[in-house]
Each structure stands twice: as structure tokens, then as C-alpha cells.
Amino acid sequence: MRLEAKFKWLPTPYRSLLLFAVWLLLNNSVSAGHILLAVTLAVVIPLATSPFRTKQPLIIKPGLAFRHLMLVLYDIITANIQVAILILGPNKKLTPGFVKVPLDLAHNMPITILASTVSLTPGTVSAELYPWRECLAEGKEPEKRFLLIHVLNLEDEQALIKTIKERYEAPLKEIFQC
């Protein structure tokens, strides 16, 4: 895991890239003036706001991050079709349930991404992160964290936990190296 970027003047390289792309998309043009303005904004905004932010782990393997993004987009499409079938089918067949998934990730940023992907993919919505922040002593990090998720149609609890851990959590651990 790495918190500090390689260059001091570029604290969050991929966020700068995102800002650059967003500026060009918003203006819908690639003229020289807009590119120059986009570069300036992409460098100045992260620099100006970095003192306000808590340091988050940086992406170490961008190639893997892109592959993971594609996998998640594909899963969102299949998830939508599955959920549509479940919704249109009879209610009696559905067996909803709450499942607690033990997490290996320890940092807020990767856990947020994991919780969001879980919410967007097949029949699951992330509900809560345990242990409660308020229960911990000031500044103390919990040893083991759990993610509570609600499942629309629970068939095999262990298989579901295994899928989430292998398909979504393991790549995130690789990407952030933590």
C-alpha cells in the first residue's frame, strides 16, 4: 500500500486524469484552448485540495483496475437482467436474507468501492459495516471488519460469500496492494 504519490506536484495522478477527461467531456471539444485549461485544472485542483483530504491508498496496478472495471460493468448488465427476472417472477419463490461477509480489506477507500460494487451487482445491497465506528476507542483501528448485505434471493450463503471475496475483493486487494 502506498499513500504518497511519486511526484509532490501531482498528489493524485488518476484523479487528475479523471478531471482532465471530465473537463473535455463537459465542453464536448478537444480544441487546444480547452486542453490547456483542462491540464491546468487537473494539476491545480488536486494540489489546492490535498491539505483537506485524508490520505487514501493510491492505485498501484492501473491495468488491473481497468480490467476490474470492465468486469464490474459486465456484471452490472447481467445483474440487471437477473434482478428483472426475479422481480417479475412470483414473490413466494424469493427467500431474502441478511449475510455477514468478513472483509480482508482494512482501508476506507477500498471498502467503499467494494460496498458500491456489491450494491450494483446481482441481487445484493450492502447495508452496514461492522464493527460500529462509535464502539471503538478514539483512533483505534478494528482488527476484523464485516460487511452486512441484504440478498434478494439467498440460495447458498457460503457460495455467495466466496464469490464476493474472490470476484470483487481479491482484485481490489491487488490494485491497492493492501
Binding site: 467531456l25 464536448n28 422481480i87 424469493l94 436474507g97 450492502s126 460500529w132 462509535e134 441484504h150
Partner: protein, 110 residues
């Protein structure tokens, strides 16, 4: 030809949004209701936006790519609003239907 593609995308997108709304009405408890709007609607909106992208790219000169940004913001905000709703539902101890399994996984809040 392009008109056909746009119409088909609009129909499928509208269909997904409709299914999401049906889920909102049909499901028996709050937690199950949440599944329709958080998922089916995101893909529906994405399809509508792709249709808009193709439409505006053909009637104007040059590409129209702003719609990608709208899909991106939707993908970012849908899980967060879903999470806030389910968190407050758990806090208010809303009833879930009888056959819900693993209810003892919910810890009491402080």
C-alpha cells in the same frame, strides 16, 4: 437504420426502468423493494443515455459524449443513496418478512 437502433435502445431502457418501478410496488418489504430501483434503473438510464448519445451525434456535426458523464454520476450515486436508505431502515428496525434468513446478523446499534 440509425432510427431503428435508437428506438430499440429507448424501448429496452424504458422496459428496465418499468421493471424497477414494478419491483418497488410489488415487493413485500422495504429491504426487497430497494433492489429494483438500485439496479434495474441504472442500466435503464444507461441505455437511454446511449440512445441520446447516438441521436445527438447524428443530427449535429461532431460527436456528443456528455452523456457518458451522466451515466458515470448515476453509477456513483445509486449505491450511495441505496446504502443511506437501507442504513436508516436498519436503524428504525423496519420489519422484514417472516422468511428472511440471517436476521441475527444485524447487530444492535449504539
Amino acid at each position: 437504420m440509425i432510427e431503428w437502433i435508437i428506438s430499440i435502445l429507448l424501448l429496452i431502457g424504458g422496459g428496465f426502468i418499468l421493471v424497477g418501478s414494478i419491483g418497488l410496488v410489488k415487493m413485500p418489504d422495504f429491504f426487497m423493494r430497494l433492489h429494483g430501483p438500485t439496479k434495474a434503473t441504472t442500466l435503464g438510464m444507461a441505455l437511454l443515455l446511449i440512445a441520446a448519445m447516438i441521436f445527438f451525434s447524428t443530427i449535429q456535426a461532431g460527436l456528443s459524449v456528455k452523456e457518458i458523464l451522466i451515466s458515470l454520476f448515476l453509477l456513483l450515486t445509486a449505491p450511495i443513496s441505496g446504502y443511506m436508505m437501507i442504513k436508516s431502515a436498519i436503524h428504525h428496525k423496519l420489519d422484514s418478512i417472516e422468511r428472511t434468513t440471517g436476521k441475527d446478523n444485524i447487530e444492535d446499534d449504539v
